[in-house]
Amino acid sequence: MMERTTFHRSLPAIALALLFAATLFVAFVEVDFGEPRIEEELPVNYQPGEEIDTENITTPGLRYLANSSEETGSANLVTAVVVNYRGFDTLGEVTILFLAATGVGALLSFIKDDDEKKKKKILPPSLILNKGARLVLPLIILFGVYVFLHGHLSPGGGFQGGVIIASGMLLFYIAEPTKGASHKVISIIESTAGLAFIGLGIVGLMTASKIFLANDFAGDWGEVGMLVSAGLLPLIYIAIGFKVGSEMTGLVEKMRGDGS
């Protein structure tokens, strides 16, 4: 009976949602993502991988596809776009994460822990879980570091490496409910990494091109495909990796509260 009345009341909402979904569907079907412009602008007899004269191109995606490793020194196209062509967006995304994590911490500090008395003594973690986590944690962190160090060579990068490290720390928190990294250390790493990102951006403002986040050392160090290459991109990805890792760890730590 109850079910039926609520269903009746939500009928207009369901109808609206369906209409909205149908509109979106039709509109998205109508759009050919990325297709037509690229064919229009390509030179005749274009071979995939061939470098294009940038004078004649106005579509950003086309230039990224053709010239990214030449212009940014990064073997990974996604990294080239994320850190160099659209690095400003990435700075913004990192800030969003930072704001969210800081804000959660700030808001939680206003909630008094009224379940102080409810807090029961927790059992020590099981031996297998504890030792296993200690065995696996360094491997996970190593993998995370690998992912963000090789961000300009292989899939992955700062964000992915950072969250992999954070998920390792999460495992550690589950295995060791009473211990945790110091808030202070997490906060220092987080802020320093953010400052490092902006500092690397300001390097671009200081060097030849005088443009924020410009990658002026793109071809100077190493060949494309080597670990030390792509100019400032790997350094930026290291900063992002540390920042995201410490932020997500801090977020989990704050949400965990005390021993639950």
């Binding site: 992915q160 954070a166 999460l170 989990v252 949400m255």
Partner: protein, 89 residues
């Protein structure tokens, strides 16, 4: 990859995702809903691999199916586990 296989796999994944999402909405047990939600993310990350976006897939797999779920579970532990009208344990 064979295009037919690709379409079949993708369709299967989308059906699974929708089914899981419906289960998330219908579940009155919030922890169960959080875990099902992480299942949706896991399948989404597989779809990203199918679409040849390994970068996104890595982020989706670790954020969507590990960190988000655990943060939701921590938040649920601080409040009530069951929605109103759900059965109490």
């Amino acid at each position: 990859m064979n295009e037919l296989v690709f379409i079949a796999l993708a369709t299967l994944m989308f059906i699974l995702m929708i089914a899981l999402a419906v289960m998330v909405i219908r579940s009155k047990d919030l922890i169960k809903a959080a875990i099902l939600l992480s299942g949706v993310s896991l399948i989404a990350s597989f779809v990203f691999v199918l679409l040849r976006a390994p970068d996104v897939a890595m982020a989706e797999a670790s954020i969507g199916s590990a960190l988000t779920a655990i943060i939701l579970v921590f938040a649920i532990k601080k409040t009530n586990r069951f929605e109103e009208g759900g059965e109490e344990k």
